[in-house]
Symmetry: D2
Subunit: 373 residues, 4 copies
Amino acid sequence: MGDTPAIGVGMLGYGFMAKAHANAYKTLAYMTWPPPLRPELVAIAGRDEPAVAEAARRYGFADHVTDWRALIGDDRIGLFDNSGPNSLHAEPTIAAAQAGKHVICEKPLGRDAAESYETWQRVQATGVKHMCAFNYRFVPAVRLAREIVASGELGEIHHFRARYLQEWGATDAALWRFDKAAAGSGALGDLAAHVVDLARYLVGEIEAVSALTATFQPGREVDDAVEAAVAFEGGAVGTIEASRFATGRKNALSWEINGAKGSIAFDLERLNELEVYGAGPPSPRSEGFRTVLVTEADHPFWEHWWPAGHIIGWEHTFVHELHHLLTAIRQDGDVAPHGATLEDGYRAAEVCDAMLRSAEEGAREGVTYRGRG
Amino acid sequence: MGDTPAIGVGMLGYGFMAKAHANAYKTLAYMTWPPPLRPELVAIAGRDEPAVAEAARRYGFADHVTDWRALIGDDRIGLFDNSGPNSLHAEPTIAAAQAGKHVICEKPLGRDAAESYETWQRVQATGVKHMCAFNYRFVPAVRLAREIVASGELGEIHHFRARYLQEWGATDAALWRFDKAAAGSGALGDLAAHVVDLARYLVGEIEAVSALTATFQPGREVDDAVEAAVAFEGGAVGTIEASRFATGRKNALSWEINGAKGSIAFDLERLNELEVYGAGPPSPRSEGFRTVLVTEADHPFWEHWWPAGHIIGWEHTFVHELHHLLTAIRQDGDVAPHGATLEDGYRAAEVCDAMLRSAEEGAREGVTYRGRG
Amino acid sequence: MGDTPAIGVGMLGYGFMAKAHANAYKTLAYMTWPPPLRPELVAIAGRDEPAVAEAARRYGFADHVTDWRALIGDDRIGLFDNSGPNSLHAEPTIAAAQAGKHVICEKPLGRDAAESYETWQRVQATGVKHMCAFNYRFVPAVRLAREIVASGELGEIHHFRARYLQEWGATDAALWRFDKAAAGSGALGDLAAHVVDLARYLVGEIEAVSALTATFQPGREVDDAVEAAVAFEGGAVGTIEASRFATGRKNALSWEINGAKGSIAFDLERLNELEVYGAGPPSPRSEGFRTVLVTEADHPFWEHWWPAGHIIGWEHTFVHELHHLLTAIRQDGDVAPHGATLEDGYRAAEVCDAMLRSAEEGAREGVTYRGRG
Amino acid sequence: MGDTPAIGVGMLGYGFMAKAHANAYKTLAYMTWPPPLRPELVAIAGRDEPAVAEAARRYGFADHVTDWRALIGDDRIGLFDNSGPNSLHAEPTIAAAQAGKHVICEKPLGRDAAESYETWQRVQATGVKHMCAFNYRFVPAVRLAREIVASGELGEIHHFRARYLQEWGATDAALWRFDKAAAGSGALGDLAAHVVDLARYLVGEIEAVSALTATFQPGREVDDAVEAAVAFEGGAVGTIEASRFATGRKNALSWEINGAKGSIAFDLERLNELEVYGAGPPSPRSEGFRTVLVTEADHPFWEHWWPAGHIIGWEHTFVHELHHLLTAIRQDGDVAPHGATLEDGYRAAEVCDAMLRSAEEGAREGVTYRGRG
């Protein structure tokens, strides 16, 4: 690694997402060997000085600051990692890009499509590499699914149905995630946005949505659940759901794709597995959904890990994601199509906005992407 | 059984459903012991004489006829069993009731809500017992689910999501199920109607729907798939889907209910199991979805069957259903709430019609039940 | 069915097994169409007159008797069905055969290998068709497994491991199954015998066993559990277990076979499914255990039943089994290899005896079959 | 972490296990916060200089050496981590302990019980902390299982059955794992040893074994599979199996415990889940195996990780294991009972040796532990 150039990382935020990103930078430095670039943790920003100082000590950032603007002016920093709350996505991300730093921003990119579009446009104009942290694209089973769909093995796609279910919504806690000004929306931006990104990544653009939202907790500003029927440009139809009120479901992002010749299904709580039904077994009499344990040496990302059957966890998706971004930076290559760019972040927001409009107006809403050629 | 009174059965149809009903009459006579009434298979009607004669020999009907009207005038018949195609549901069922015969009619009750309403109203006016054959209410696990919901153990219900997926739709065969005049609709009336009935049985009335339909097979008159977001009167929201184009899914009716205190999930292909998540295990640290094998002596309908773990099949739902109907006839009791009446058949049709309207007009549609007090 | 000849059935026993057999005779008469022979339920024998009279009324036997010898002398009876307790297997079965009746006898054939051998030898000498009711050979998924193994698709077989687990053993009830004189053994003859038969049917003859037994219930005469390491003549090794003390396991007969090129696994509580791992999918990257829903038209026995995905239950195995026996009788064909003969009943007993000897003596025991060419 | 004392780590080996241990040292330094001790990677030893130099660069060891003896004499090293092949377990581990270093040694501790006993005895005499790296004790679900058993919630334990199945054995590669001198045994020491340790950890001491072994690959010196019936001192009985010839099974360590009042089951390929059946749900009618997703804040080890449902992987067991060891060192506390000591390493070897003797001699073998009070 003596030959591997370094890249300085400046991080905004020190909470849940920051922990996941910091772990990924540290892990990829030796697990993906040799790494594309050697991350140096330069500085971390947060408003609570004792807390951000502790985070710096914990994860090994050289410095800590209480104003994110200090990161923008820090020449040691080549990559700005925005792991802060939704309301701090746009301005710092744009500023960092305009200062010439590559950027990765947590999802949802903005609190609505307009803010997301603005962020994408202004960052794109700078020419830096940019990524929206839709980390579930980097589950090995999801990448494998993408490859299977792309191969044509499933035939024409007829259905995509997905749900992202959690159970912790029934609480009186005053979290920023329940604050409309800070979060933009509730289960929609937090959970459904992930599903929308996977829908786009796996099946293609969504053309129209018919949605309902529900808020179960009295006094809450944002949606607790969203339910939508969706139609894709390619002809597929399906449903997308997200809820924070699905008792017993911890982090249950599951989806199924049905094509004319085969089907695939996935469940994030068993993320090392992919269910595949398709043409080809020795005898049609023994056809059935195959539980593929996506842990073989020739499976996506497995060159970095362990022998077959030695499963990985949720946090590993960030290792793959940041490895992908550093590779694009090092090679001056494209983040797309496997990494989500800020354009993908914007497009997911456009679909989420259409769901909100549909829910409010009781009508099917078309999805129109701004800036589409 | 010498003491058990007999009831004469006249059946319309000799296909798939007729086989299931005939088997149920014959089986309940000794498996539910003593049976509420002793079914005597009097006559079976169908237009193809050699085929209906063969069916009579096979299932032990004393006579066979080629005009269903002959059943109406047959005084030996006390129960008219309509297992014919959708277009032959209304007129024969009404005629039989008006002739004083109890009636059971296969689902969907009519080809649309209007026809279903007419059938229900005219049959109800006669005072006979009437049932719409939504047999999935008679899966032991479904009845157990209903009891769990009714007990309040799950708390307020937030979500119902269900799908009924089959895979055989990509065919050029000219089946009556693809003929709009004969069937009324496609996956909607055939599959989604079952889901709608279960939604109503388990969670309550549906208030509004936002739906899409799709027809994948070129030239087909009816829908191949329907996708809907739904809202219930009680405040729950969710999705309902049905498709004949879900490759690899054979008869996959699955649903999940999330309540404030617990959840239940079901899959018809594993119909002896119910997944239950709820308050109460010894330690919250070992809480999780329980796979309840619904085969114990104190489970619904199990007094008729086998020791625990000796599972039953799909056809047994008809044994339970007809046992329920014969009990209501014998005791002059109510078919509702556990049996679906023709009113339930009508209400399911009203929801299905709302889905069609929503799909056509691109707007959320309210569900208004005619004849509601 | 007017053309189908009848066969008179005389049954010994009116309990659990008799219910299963009676249901099967009645069901096969119309579900397997046309049936190979038309079963006429002539007479049923049991010592408790009111109970056996009730059973006759319930299942439709023309007569009932309190001494099984009356069945032997009844010329209307062409098939003697022994569904009585283990201690009444040998003498009545031999007597019936010597009276020229075909015989089916519940498992285990005898209380030990000597009794089983004697029964087999004396019945075989009469030339009648004979069957030992190892009904799990007639699960569609088990027959499919046999066909897959026989096809060579799995390659050389390395492992067979199986367990039959129930949970009801901790009881003070004085059942005949706990009485050594009546039952011969406990979990061994009741449960392990089924596993041994499947091992032989699927993999081949067992050569040696190293076993332990345990009796957990104080004062019980028979084994509550048996644990064995086993070696097959063909080179495979594995384990066989059976217990009545496996809390939470209702009727959990599960097994797995590993071959050089593939594997199969089965669980009786999900008897419509077979797990298959094997060469051939389109891409090795999507290889995995396939959950085959064994309910297609071209699956074993499915010509008698329903469309794909409409599952059958435990009791259906008896329909297939008796259909197989009646076919052999009608066509003067062989019961073997798919049906278990009394020789198979004897051989299973020989393996079970070896397990008992091994458990008692603390040594590996070879299995030697008497009368082997 | 400024206040946390450091401990110097010297590692023997740079292969698969070394990668897992190195990752764990690096990860625990920030994921378990504050860590009990701050690991400093001082030096790594291996015979292939370029390879070990690369490993040092990759994982951040300050130095590398080609003779493990250099580690023994290095005063900076407080913990000797033996991740080398089996034949290099005894001598270096003993030497390190005698030099006053704490030791952790990969399993199996020795190539047979005698070597393992010697290692344990000589290390124990030095007074250092010692651990045998049976990492599966540190799966959260396994620890939870131990707590459930210890609580008495399952009642008296009747059964333990376990299998560790892999599929890669059919190879001509000349691995040290196939070399009797280097490895001692095959699937036995590699896989079955893990199972034996879990059996002892969860249920208690094994009293007797009846075993078979098989070698399927022509010319191979060591066993490819072992099959055993086992009896525990506490009265439970069961089976233990291990194989490298279980086609389709990648890293399938699964076990089930049945007690008088409940049962637990586990599968390493879904290591975030524990199946629990036990007394206590709201209604006996909804009793069933609960799939507990062992990812809650109050589950074992989860204070270090993520929100519920965000699963961890195989490698995390090493983080927990080394965290446990460092805590014992820092606090001068006991490694036992949750960590395996070298005594546990020895005892597992004693059981494995008994299996080999049983397989060779065809007799049940008692297990006698040397040095037992």
